[in-house]
Amino acid sequence: MLSARKADPAVVSALRDVFPIILAVVPFGMVYGTVAAGEGLTLLQTVGFSASVFAGASQLAALQLVGIGAPVWSVLLAVFALNFRHILYSASVGRHIKHFPKAAKALAFFLLADPTFAAAEARAGRRALSTGYYFAYGLSLYVCWLISSLVGALAGALIEDPAVFGIDFVLPVYFLALVMTFRQRASFWPVASTSAAASIVIYAVIGPPWHVTLGALAGILVAAVMPIENRSVGSPMADEQSAEKAT
């Protein structure tokens, strides 16, 4: 593997894995860019926000709050609450990138978006997670996020109503399909159904964005109290099988 540095097979499979995700993310980035331009952000601010945060849902939430004239601190609180889930991601992914050089590790956490997290977890279930795989995946997603934000801002009114094309629905379906690739893990159904039920109730009672953090904690709690021996011995293999089906 190491000798094949020129065409690192890990890079190739990362690019293959990230391609469908880019197809899903680009429209979302364009929607963000369009909304940002509509809120009066300059091109540089629109792309700069994507570059610094790299988390679409929180960027859109921030724009919405800016639009209604909310104070800076409340915008920041919304961004933090919406991105709080990353704490869970980094706790989990940190176990798989222990061998990365220090600077690479710091950069890896910066790139830890939802799809990157899911891909890194799936990859680590099958083999050691290499810097080649991680950064080929993460950086191409990052660059596409910036470009699509820019294109969205430039296109402006071209995507006046994303709902007409179902573009606004790409992300929910995408996350649903992504979750299903983890279904071979032993605790999957109890965890997923608990999180689904909890997030729906919290969404209805407290409202967004707390349904994400609290709903996830409910599912994680279920996994923590389930009998340990129940955890699938062959979960990496199971992940591989479902991942193969997914490609």
Partner: protein, 97 residues
């Protein structure tokens, strides 16, 4: 500095803190007890589920129908196929209803 640039800067810092924070916390705690490990393994399914599940209450019938349909399709179809069918289904259902 305008408010927008202040938000761009501070939101970026806050988000980075969330992205490295869990790792730093684990580093302080040290080795992972088995139950914590089991909990971490459940993180992907738990978090990602909460992002789409509330569509069942926030969405209308086209969105609910598409979500159920895609939940079934995901057993058979590759990820991108499920996404395309789901988005297409919603677009058509919205146009009809």
């Amino acid at each position: 500095m305008s408010d927008i640039w202040l938000i761009v800067l501070l939101a970026g810092i806050l988000t980075y803190l969330t992205r490295i924070g869990g790792h730093l916390l684990i580093k302080i705690v040290g080795t992972l007890p088995p139950r914590l490990e089991a909990a971490l393994d459940a993180v992907p399914a738990a978090v990602l589920t909460t992002i789409f599940a509330p569509v069942m209450v926030s969405g209308d019938w086209p969105e609910r129908g598409a979500l159920v349909l895609c939940g079934i399709l995901a057993f058979r179809f590759p990820l991108i196929g499920t996404v395309a069918i789901g988005a297409g289904f919603v677009a058509i259902a919205r146009a009809i209803l």
